[in-house]
Symmetry: C2
Subunit: 229 residues, 2 copies
């Protein structure tokens, strides 16, 4: 019998690819978060992929948006930066402690179901410099989770998997295509409209465009939305 794993799933390239990656070996469970993000369209895409892969359970978790302040991904008064040069600075699209909170939900959900494997699509190469996407955070979190859970102290160790953490975006897309991901059913844009149409200007769109370009193939969203570059 297959072991089970929980995947933290948005509708973006990284987490969807991670879902298909985990599906090779594990029975799938997924958690998707509705935290007041502007790009709420991703929730529908997450539902599509868990249905497509017959996940055993997919829970949409609501996190009250009042928690988060000073982030352009949630606050309607803060504009998502466009055509920004991506440098070492942590941009205003950073959501305070997002992956810490998402992973902690993953651990509570996992331990409640006797599941030891948690997958996250965090990526620390083609990214916006978010501290909670770095390998040192992920491994420290794993250690903390094992100290703070019954599973952990009884030696039934929780494992946090971040299989994409050291991959370039084009490598992630290449991997996903091999695993059968339909990238026309993913959304990366921080301010996608209600149909999922991307702005092509935010950091996340820029990183996506670069990834497809480096791989030498056309992003299927271009045809889908009849986009011009």
């Amino acid at each position: 019998m297959k072991e089970s794993a929980i995947v933290l799933l948005s509708g973006g390239i990284d987490s969807v690819t991670t879902l298909y990656y985990a599906n090779q070996q594990y029975e799938l469970y997924a958690l998707t978060f509705d935290y007041g993000q502007k790009h709420k369209y991703e929730l529908e895409l997450a539902k599509y992929h868990t249905r497509h892969l017959n996940a055993k359970e997919h829970l949409i978790v609501t996190i009250q948006s009042e928690i988060f302040k000073k982030t352009a991904l949630v606050d309607k008064n803060l504009k998502v930066p466009e055509n920004r040069t991506i440098d070492d600075e942590i941009p205003i699209t950073y959501v305070p402690a997002r992956n810490l909170l998402f992973l902690s939900y993953g651990v509570a959900f996992a331990e409640s179901r006797d599941i030891k494997h948690i997958f996250i699509g965090a990526n620390a190469l083609d990214y916006s410099g978010y501290p909670d996407c770095r390998p040192e955070f992920i491994s420290s979190f794993e250690k903390t989770a094992n100290l703070g859970t019954k599973m952990g102290v009884l030696g039934n160790t929780l494992k946090i998997h971040a299989p994409l953490i050291n991959k370039k975006k084009f490598e992630i897309i290449k991997l996903g295509l091999e695993l059968g991901v339909d990238y026309s059913l993913t959304s990366s844009c921080y301010q996608a409209d209600s149909q999922g149409k991307p702005c092509l200007k935010c950091d996340s769109c820029q990183i996506r465009i670069k990834g497809f370009k480096e791989l030498g193939i056309e992003d299927p969203l271009i045809k889908k939305f009849n986009l011009l570059f």
Copy 2:
């Protein structure tokens, strides 16, 4: 001007005492969690104390109860153990990864408001052996939170305070009385009724009874509910 601090607050002896402790030095913010616990009466007590101390913000955070399974604090089909001998075993009242999740909410809330201090009433002496109440978990969490947040990586270090972690229950009550806590407005019972009347039989009631006994004073809940021992 006073610095600000966030207190993770239920309506129990430990977190209420922690709130009054933090109030000596900090402007108060508080987070209280509604996670489907049977003893929901505590939420009203938490509201009383934050109003009494003029907390700047008190948010009741809802965590979907579907997250948690196999815990007698949430699952109505699992009975809270009564008259149990408290030993080294982690009992069925353990809630998977509860403090990990509560602290992570604390960090997201704190960083969103530029607050560096988070207080938790965790206690590892007179307790039920929950792994997420131990000092090694708290200090590992603090390290992880600083690795996974913008505040942390910019050197504006988050500090997790657990001032009661090495105190006996009677010492906590003694401290709280000095700080003006009205313990008739606290609730410890895992299965308190909708008016807050305790069962006197669960671990948490037993630990409370022992604490007041060791201090040599009467628990004000005895008069309030006309209880017989």
